[in-house]
Amino acid sequence: MSDATTREDLAMSEMTFHPQPRGGAPRPWAFPAPERGALPNGLTVLRSHRPGQQVVAVEVDIVAPLETEPAGLDGVATIMARALSEGTDRHDAEEFAAELERCGATLDAHADHPGVRVSLEVPASRLPRALGLLADALRAPAFPESEVERLVRNRLDEIPHELANPGRRAAMALSKELFPASSRMSRPRQGTEETVGRIDAAAVRAFYDAHVRPAAATAVIVGDFTGVDVDAALADTLGAWQGSAAEPVAVTPITADGTGRVVIVDRPGAVQTQLLIGRIGADRHDRQWPAQVLGTYCLGGTLTSRLDRVLREEKGYTYGVRAFGQVLRSSAPDAPGGSTGASMLAISGSVDTESTGPALDDLWKVLRTLAAEGLTDAERDVAVQNLVGVAPLKYETAAAVAGTLADQVEQHLPDDYQAQLYARLAETGTVEATAAVVNAFPADRLVTVLVGDAAQIAEPVRALGIGEVTVVSG
């Protein structure tokens, strides 16, 4: 220890300190503008050449809202998405998986409120081969009865694991609480034990026949295309997919009950309480979205935001609490009846059981102080610098660019939406950002879900007066 002290002294005496450096001139960067086109079969194609990105990302958006699942068959979209890769007209399920992996590719498919998303990643040199497999999966899935049955059983086995996960359990409870029971949004995206149990190959085939066709789909393809004939590869693969013309899919407007209240999902003995505090708000078509992004960042975007400054860095109640806005579903702004989109606005994190009451108390104080005093110009400036500044980092990989382009398509946004968002963030002032975040997170109209030990947390939470407290079993 003594020699170590000497070293500290040395450090103090010897290290030469310099003033904080100032940055140089920013080098130009812009969110990539994709090239938009269509294949003769009606498939929309967006492509973006990203030099250096040797792993190409392909995202296929299929318009098939969960709301269109037949009554009592929640989860059929999920099972169909998974069954796409379980055998085609050319390969059985095991061969298909082996062929994909032979390309060094990954293929994922999942169903969410707006539709089904199929994601492929593959080294550029093997793109044509992998696109062939992707096209087979979309064009001619076999949906063998035994594979569908296996996927159903597998899905039933997954459900208890999801219910045991505090974060997933909280998300399910919040959806159930916020949306009317008649709304598909109130129920788990991938179905319940009851509904999944009813799904068979015929139901999967029927959902496929109703929704999966090139005219109702968009493929986004991003990566380094040097030496790859993308046109030929697409024509030979996704170009061979055939189907009828797309009919518009009508969806019902999203409504929610935003009365301030608390639901505790009881987990006796839990060492932490999972918090999920939310409500619904407008989607990205709303003009206030950029201001809301900015304000939400200031509230809970990072560990130097208002929530973590108190809950983590001052009090040590948590490893981190985040505020965010996530689009649930959007429709085209010119759709009949106007826009019916919405997003989930939420604050999420875990706190130790004992600190649950004090942590919520502090969280509400942060919200009330924000409403009363607003954001500071300095906070707004740092937030803009971060949100705009990180764009070149955030969009380094092909997968990141493809994901955002596919989200834009799914949400009926123009292809230059993200590029414009950066411009608008830079123009947004402190007053606008304050108004947007206060409007997004009103202290008296938030639904709070707590997954934790009710015996320990219910009383302290009741005492806070943040709404009526109900306890449900875990």
Binding site: M1, P26, R27, C103, A164, G316, D352, E396
Partner: protein, 447 residues
């Protein structure tokens, strides 16, 4: 045909090059230029991890990593985070068994700021470190432990497996997150002594990758880091040497409130940096990587006895690596049935070796994983540091994928025969209860 089916001309290096430098105080520096995107990654690896911790102070390396973000001589409070994020950068630090890393990815024109910040804390952390920061971050880390391990089903499985696979007293017996009791016991003096012992320029490697001017970058590094004194007080970690195999099967049955039965096991495997480790990686990929693997086909597709089944590899340089089997059962299937099926598949694989198609698939999968890791400047910076710190040569990062593609089926079979045996594993079985107490894992603990 060792390199016959590589996806890229240069087997994953993508034409990357790196230059190496050393300051007079011992700080090793690796630079790699990539002008494609206007970003620059800074990565600093300190050669200290949880293997350097002593009894009664588990978790100290990770707790200390948190303290590195609490300010230094010229950086107030959370200034490190605020300044990097305010410049449009992203940052974090992580602690593993073998090292602690700190990294910033910056818009290229803000590179100098990241270097200034890293130098400030390397040279002057102790002038800002106080009890208030320690008490606060102790609570934060305890909540990290609860959130990632204690409050999640099967959350402490990895901790239990490593405790069995590396015997009491072995430097890898405990995981980086540490125990609650030891986190409680850590004192300010422990933290100070830890810094004085391990946080020295000659115990670190700094890599900078991206749209950089190497001469200018090196001049900045010399300017900010050059005057930090070197220090030779570091004690080497306790030896991680162990016999090649465990010589017997270890077993623990855990009764907890978990959603299904589970069979997990840790196999003792060759050290990272050897051909045998790459062969083991391929063996585990054929057996349990992805949805065309032998175990997935057998347990999930054919027997339908498991909801998920796979193998993972934790590569370690200072101790034997660890192959991690994880199977969650389907419905009421018994663990014994899963275990005999797994043993049958491992024995068959050891007897037959991989088929040519399996070798091709496994190599293609591992190659893509390498391309993914090298797709970002921060991924490349981290790999350059890894090979510099653990193997003394950052250039090895640029040829790693070539080495995986060079492995023969015979080598894969040999490692399976020697290592993937019941007498070389620690088994962890979960039996669900309806009581209240339960607990996933990671070799790393993020900040």
């Amino acid at each position: 045909m060792p390199m016959g089916h590589t996806a890229t001309e240069k087997a994953g290096s993508g034409g990357l090059t790196a230059t190496e430098h050393r300051l007079a105080n011992g700080l090793r520096v690796v630079l790699s230029v990539d002008p494609l995107t206007p970003v620059a990654a800074v990565c600093l690896w300190y050669d200290v991890g949880s293997r350097h911790e002593v009894k009664g102070r588990t978790g100290l390396a990770h707790l200390f990593e948190h303290l590195m973000f609490q300010g230094s001589a010229q950086v107030k409070g959370n200034g490190h985070f605020e300044l990097v994020q305010g410049a449009g950068g992203s940052l974090n630090g992580t602690t593993s068994f073998e090292r602690t890393n700190y990294f910033e990815t910056m818009p290229a024109h803000e590179l100098e700021l990241a270097l200034w910040l890293e130098a400030d804390r390397m040279g002057s952390l102790l002038t800002a470190l106080d009890d208030e920061s320690l008490e606060n971050q102790r609570d934060v880390v305890k909540n990290e432990r609860r959130q990632r391990y204690d409050n999640v089903p099967y959350g402490t499985a990895f901790e239990k497996l490593t405790a069995m696979a590396y015997p009491e007293g072995h430097p890898y017996h405990h995981t980086p997150i540490g125990s609650m009791a030891d986190l409680d016991a850590a004192s300010l003096e422990d933290a100070r002594a830890f810094f004085r012992t391990y946080y020295a320029p000659n115990n670190a490697v700094l890599s900078v990758v991206g749209d950089i001017d190497p001469e200018q970058t090196l001049a900045w590094i010399e300017k900010y880091f050059g005057s930090i004194p070197s220090h030779d007080g570091k004690r080497p970690p306790r030896s991680g040497e162990l016999p090649v195999t465990m010589g017997g099967q270890l077993r623990e049955v855990v009764e907890e409130e978990v959603p299904s039965r589970a069979l997990m096991a840790a196999y003792r495997l060759p050290h990272d940096g050897t051909r045998e480790a790459d062969a083991a990686d391929l063996a585990l990929t054929v057996l349990g990587g992805g949805e065309s693997s032998r175990l997935y086909n057998r347990l999930v597709r054919r027997d339908r006895s498991a909801v998920a089944a796979g193998f993972g590899l934790l590569r370690l340089a200072g101790a034997p690596s660890l192959g991690w089997l994880d199977v969650k059962t389907s419905g009421g299937v018994e663990v014994a049935d899963i275990e005999s099926a797994v043993d049958e598949e491992l024995a068959r694989f050891a007897a037959e070796g991989p088929t040519p198609e399996e070798m091709e698939r496994a190599q293609a999968q591992l190659e893509r994983e390498w391309l993914d890791r090298l797709a970002t400047v921060s991924g490349r910076a981290d790999e350059l540091c890894r090979y510099a710190v653990l193997f003394g040569d950052p250039q090895l990062a640029l040829t790693a994928v070539g080495r995986v593609l060079d492995i023969t089926p015979e080598e894969v079979q040999a490692v399976a025969q020697a290592r993937l045996r019941p007498d070389n594993r620690a088994v962890l079985v979960y039996e669900p209860t309806a009581a209240d107490d339960s607990a996933d894992n990671d070799e790393e603990a993020d900040r």
